[in-house]
């Protein structure tokens, strides 16, 4: 598979580096408006570089698959052009920033012969996969309530290399929304994943601690379409955490027991990193393939989702996350925004 990277920001660079570890995948091209980003791509051996992704799509030096990691507002057009050009498409979440655009994408995907997947990476966290397995086996009885929490820095995190938060994050026309569109997208998708069917919003309530025109905290209550399973969501961008701290928690409450992610993700992230890092070191010594990013249970999910996407292309099977998932998640987000108009935190 010959891959073209569209967008080399934070997520694009991560996907690029992950691709370099996937067998039978060759990254042959990359596009980004930043010359600095292209320079980084060149350093890892990418030969065909473009400052405009349209050129990558039209030039397509043997590219058959594109990975789109552009700012949210550019997802729709880039997906549309990529699908129309016949590429397999993997796009970072959110699939698009409006339900209308998502519906158009669903239609485009139906017409396309290529594979399409949205990056709902949290479904690929080992602990989440295990929780789903436990619930599906009936080990906690009937699923009654799902609670999901994710509180961290969001776009306001900065790493060892200080860079400003990209300006599009401050523009609601470009980000499509605040924390609900960012972290909320993930956890609403997880609710749908655990419930396994359609859902609707009962209540949503937003916070604006940063005085921005979009929310930085939200409480959302949702329910499965048959009203049998309730979900409680607590998300926020306002918590200052230092990597590798990661404040995420999922609990599935059934009538015969419960399962919590606290018991299924590493309790000590440092020990986990040392343990998994040592395993990779040993793999390297005996010349076996390493498990990329396994030292970070969260970041590993990004590698696993890409691996799954490429496996689907190879085996001509459908990716587990479809354009419909992208659409349904955005429908719930839009519903939550509508519900919230009268329920703001004081």
């Amino acid at each position: 598979m010959n891959v073209g990277m569209i967008g080399l920001g934070h997520m694009g660079m991560l996907h690029l580096k992950n691709c370099l570890h996937v067998d039978s995948v060759k990254v042959v091209a990359a596009a980004d408006s930043s010359k600095r980003a292209l320079k980084k791509a060149k350093l890892v051996g990418i030969k065909n570089l473009y400052t405009d992704y349209h050129d990558l799509l039209s030039d397509s030096v043997d590219v058959d698959t594109v990975i789109i990691s552009l700012p949210n507002f550019l997802h729709f057009n880039s997906i549309k052009l990529s699908l129309e050009a016949g590429f397999n498409v993997f796009v970072e979440k959110p699939m698009a920033i409006t339900v209308d655009d998502c519906r158009k994408i669903v239609k485009l995907v139906e017409k396309s012969d290529g594979k399409f997947m949205v990056g709902h990476c949290m479904r690929f966290i080992n602990g989440i996969e295990k929780m789903k397995e436990i619930a599906d086996e009936g080990r906690i009885g009937n699923l009654e309530v799902v609670t999901l929490e994710q509180l961290l820095n969001g776009p306001f995190a900065h790493g060892v290399d200080f860079t400003p938060v990209p300006e599009w994050w401050f523009d609601p026309k470009k980000n499509g929304g605040g924390v609900l569109m960012d972290l909320g997208y993930h956890v609403i998708d997880l609710f749908r994943f655990f419930v396994g069917g359609d859902s609707k919003i009962l209540f949503s309530c937003f916070d604006h601690k940063f005085n921005l025109s979009f929310e930085d905290g939200a409480i959302v209550i949702l329910v499965s379409s048959d009203s049998s399973i309730k979900g409680i969501i607590n998300i926020g961008w306002y918590q200052k955490l230092v990597f590798p701290e990661y404040n995420f928690r999922a609990i599935l409450h059934g009538n015969a027991g419960y399962v919590t992610s606290d018991n299924l993700v590493p309790r000590n992230i440092y020990l986990h990193a040392v343990k998994e890092g040592t395993k990779n070191l040993l793999r390297k010594i005996v010349r076996k393939k390493i498990k990329p990013l396994s030292y970070s249970y969260y970041y590993e999910s990004y590698y696993k989702e890409l691996q799954h996407f490429f496996d689907c292309i190879k085996n001509d099977s459908d990716p587990s996350i479809s354009a419909i998932d992208g659409l349904k998640t955005l429908e719930l987000i839009e519903e939550a925004y509508k519900t919230s108009s009268e329920t703001q935190f004081p």
């Binding site: 991560l14 570890h21 980084k40 790493g159 938060v165 990597f243 990779n280 390493i290």
Partner: protein, 310 residues
């Protein structure tokens, strides 16, 4: 020559804060150098985390200062709250996100981005090394320049308080270029910019974690403030590199430093001091081991840990 450092305990109501600032001004018997028509207040808005995290100056402290200044020198004086863009922070967002736009509206003061000022380059020699700074010119013209730093520990310099907050006045956003010579750069910029008064916002201080310290600290001498601040934060000030350089460069002098008001011990006792696991050494060890692992195993690095080598 060092100077008196006033320490006043405060509670968190707006009225308490204002009264404590007034009390602090009286403690050091503050008198401006000239008739006050214009005032610049340099807050510490290093990032988008609000005052309760201990990172940034509480707008209520700035509000208290504005009220005191107006009561003392007249209600018609021009007051600006100033900050410059930083490597990862944009002042226009920080003013909004940290409550300064609301403050400016309530108190009728100007918010000013020093990065947009008329800029002159100045070369200063520190420790035999020439350093070039971009200096916002309007800052040199104010009748009263008040520095309002936080009380924080910092991996690179151990402490950050009065002298380090002036480093934030450098107009160029990419201040990260000074980080390899950060101690010298802190001293260098303070050789050019001289606040008339420093009022430390110690309502919430930042050690290993944020702590409600309830402290207002004041002095006309920045070096004296940092000397006492180091003690509160559990460091031996004579081992703080930029303070040592400041003494060598005649920017600070131990002689004359004394405290007035509350006792240093009161605050020192509750400050969450640095330990090995919050120190630069531990951070460097972790990053060093991680980079070694990456080199040997060729594993993927999350962008948050990626250093830009371009």
């Amino acid at each position: 020559m060092g100077d008196v450092v006033g320490l006043v305990r405060t509670h968190s109501s707006d009225e308490d804060i204002k009264n404590s600032i007034e009390k602090a001004l009286n403690l050091i018997d503050f008198k401006p150098k000239c008739a006050v028509k214009s005032v610049d207040i340099k807050a510490n808005l290093c990032y988008y985390w609000d005052a309760t995290t201990g990172y940034t100056t509480d707008p209520r402290v700035v509000a208290g200062i504005i009220d005191c200044i107006r009561e003392r020198y007249g209600s018609d004086i021009n007051i600006r709250v100033v900050e410059a863009d930083a490597t990862a922070m944009r002042t226009k967002h920080a003013f909004l996100m940290l409550g300064y736009e609301k403050l400016a509206e309530e108190k009728n003061v100007e918010l000013f981005n020093l990065s947009k000022d008329e800029i002159h380059e100045e070369n200063v020699h520190v420790n035999g090394r020439g350093i070039v700074f971009q200096i916002p010119q309007s800052l040199l013209k104010s009748d009263l320049f008040i520095n309002v730093p936080k009380l924080k520990i910092m991996r690179d310099t151990k402490i950050t308080c009065a002298l380090k907050n002036i480093f934030g006045c450098i107009a160029s956003p990419r201040k990260i270029v000074y980080h390899p010579i950060l101690n010298e750069a802190i001293v260098g910029i303070n050789k050019i910019l001289h606040p008339d008064l420093t009022i430390v916002d110690g309502l919430v201080a930042l050690g290993r974690f944020p702590i409600q310290l309830g402290l207002i600290m004041i002095s006309k001498d920045q070096f004296s403030i940092d000397w006492i601040a180091s003690q509160i934060m559990g460091f031996n000030p004579s081992k703080i590199k930029f303070l040592k350089i400041a003494m060598k460069e005649k920017l600070g002098n131990l002689e004359g430093i004394r405290t007035s008001g509350e006792n240093v011990i009161t605050f020192k006792k509750i400050f969450p001091k640095e330990n090995f696991f919050s120190s630069k050494r531990w951070w460097d060890i972790q990053l060093g081991l991680f980079n070694l692992y990456r080199e040997v195993v060729n594993d993927v690095v999350p962008p948050i840990l990626e250093k830009d080598k371009s």
